[in-house]
């Protein structure tokens, strides 16, 4: 069997263009997802019943239904209410909401792990709940949850390939298109897998850098010594 590597290589810019869309969608979803996650986590830890209820409903809904069906809903079902989104918009909309829900739970766990004594310290200085949340709970929680948060971002990047199902032109979609035209499945998917792999590795590097610079993780944090 003659492999024709020139097919994916010649079309590399086309495939990388798809990867770039993936990366852009991930970038935007992370920014808005973290913001949603913070609000969601505040709701999940709030004593206000309404706020708590809304946040819980949101988080449970998005975590307990398939990502693909959520995408289908945004793209195929919303037009029923005259909400017409392009494939890219639908994908972005659902990716933000979906990742926001997962981040809510991760951030909530971080907030609950913050020791009550530090929170009391903030209150005893005269801070409001929002100030304690912003200056004490959130930074401490973020530091504790930076690793799982990073994993969530990688996981979202990889599972974002399902947006190809509504013809959003991400890497997977373009690989499928190329395959339909050329029938060089093996070569094309090997290269596609390699691009996803490099994309994930690149994100690990970026996240690791942020963790070190912003949260001081691994640089200053003392790890338990093993004897």
């Amino acid at each position: 069997m003659g492999l024709r590597w020139e097919v994916p290589l010649k079309n590399l810019p086309y495939l990388l263009g798809g990867a770039l869309l993936t990366l852009r969608l991930v970038g935007i979803s992370v920014v808005f997802g973290i913001f949603l996650g913070i609000v969601g986590a505040m709701g999940r830890t709030s004593k206000n019943k309404l706020f708590h209820g809304i946040a819980t409903a949101y988080v449970e809904l998005f975590r307990n239904t398939p990502f693909l069906v959520q995408i289908y809903f945004a793209y195929f079902a919303l037009p029923t209410f005259n909400i017409d989104l392009t494939p890219g918009q639908s994908a972005l909309f659902v990716m933000i909401l979906n990742t926001g829900a997962y981040m809510s739970e991760i951030i909530r766990a971080g907030i609950e792990a913050v020791h009550k004594s530090q929170v009391e310290s903030g209150y005893s200085l005269g801070m409001s709940y929002l100030q304690v949340f912003r200056y004490v709970m959130l930074p401490l929680a973020m530091k504790a949850i930076a690793p799982p948060l990073g994993n969530q971002i990688i996981s979202m990047t990889l599972s974002s390939c399902v947006i190809s199902q509504i013809s959003a032109e991400d890497l997977t979609f373009r690989a499928m298109m190329l395959e339909n035209r050329t029938f060089r499945s093996f070569e094309i998917y090997i290269v596609t897998i390699l691009i996803y792999f490099l994309l994930a590795e690149f994100l690990y590097l970026v996240i690791g850098y942020i963790n070190r610079k912003v949260f001081g993780i691994s640089a200053k944090q003392k790890l338990p010594t093993m004897i």
């Binding site: 004594s117 310290s121 005893s124 200085l125 005269g126 409001s128 930074p139 401490l140 200053k220 003392k222």
Partner: protein, 242 residues
């Protein structure tokens, strides 16, 4: 002039009646020492004063202001009352300077430069100016507690409450913290201290309060409390810890 006026305060934790009608007073500039067996309600009373715990009945006035659950009033009250915890409770993610300036910047809206200046002065008062850029985990327990005191001083409080400030410290570190507290007391800070450091109480306290089973059973200046305690419980307790 009265700085602290606690009137007939009751507090329950579920079925447990922890404070059974406590009344006590501190004049401006006075240092009071609260002591008694563990479980007698000392820490709870202290925490009620800045409403870290709610009370079931009674009234507490700090500088003639009623302590209420009203959030805005409570924030103002707490900004005026320093609280030093048994386990220091510094913010581990902030430098020493960051710990001392946070309240100034966030609560009092002090500009950065000014906050820094005030914080460095407070750190100087507790002898830790050179540690400003360090992090809490790099300091000994005694140093951390002194930073916690500096964090309170920086807010320029009317009164500072100390909840067993030295009981989590190694014996050799207790002295440096008590020294700082003694200085504060001599400078005229109003202080209420939960402590069993009887040496400190004898030298520094204007009044001592002995709590037993949620009741204030005896109060007076150290000279009286140490020499001729009126109640059997107080006498026995002092004998046991001296």
């Amino acid at each position: 002039m009265l700085m602290l006026d606690v009137k007939d305060v009751h507090k329950h934790f579920g079925q447990l009646h922890v404070l059974k009608g406590i009344s006590l007073q501190l004049e401006r500039g006075e240092t009071g020492v609260l002591f008694g067996r563990s479980g007698s309600g000392k820490s709870t009373l202290l925490r009620c004063i800045n409403y870290l715990e709610s009370i079931d009945s009674g009234e507490i006035y700090v500088d003639s202001e009623l302590v209420t659950p009203d959030r805005a009033k409570l924030r103002k009250l707490r900004a005026n009352i320093g609280f030093v915890f048994q386990h220091f409770n510094l913010f581990p993610h902030l430098s020493i300077l960051g710990n001392v300036t946070l309240g100034l910047k966030v609560v009092k809206k002090t500009p950065e430069d000014e906050a820094r200046e005030i914080a460095l002065k407070a750190l100087e008062d507790v002898g830790l100016k050179e540690k400003a850029e360090n992090y809490p985990e790099e300091l000994s327990g005694g140093q951390q507690q002194r930073v916690a005191i500096a964090r309170s001083i920086a807010m320029n409080p009317k009164m500072i409450l100390f909840d067993e400030p030295t009981s989590a410290l190694d014996p050799e570190l207790i002295g440096e913290v008590l020294e700082v507290m003694k200085d504060l007391s001599q400078q005229g800070m109003t202080m209420l201290v939960v402590s069993h450091e009887m040496g400190f109480a004898r030298e520094t306290a204007d009044k001592m309060f002995f709590l037993h089973n949620g009741k204030l059973v005896e109060e007076g200046p150290p000279s009286e409390i140490f020499r001729k305690p009126k109640t059997e419980e107080c006498r026995r307790f002092i004998e046991a810890i001296l």
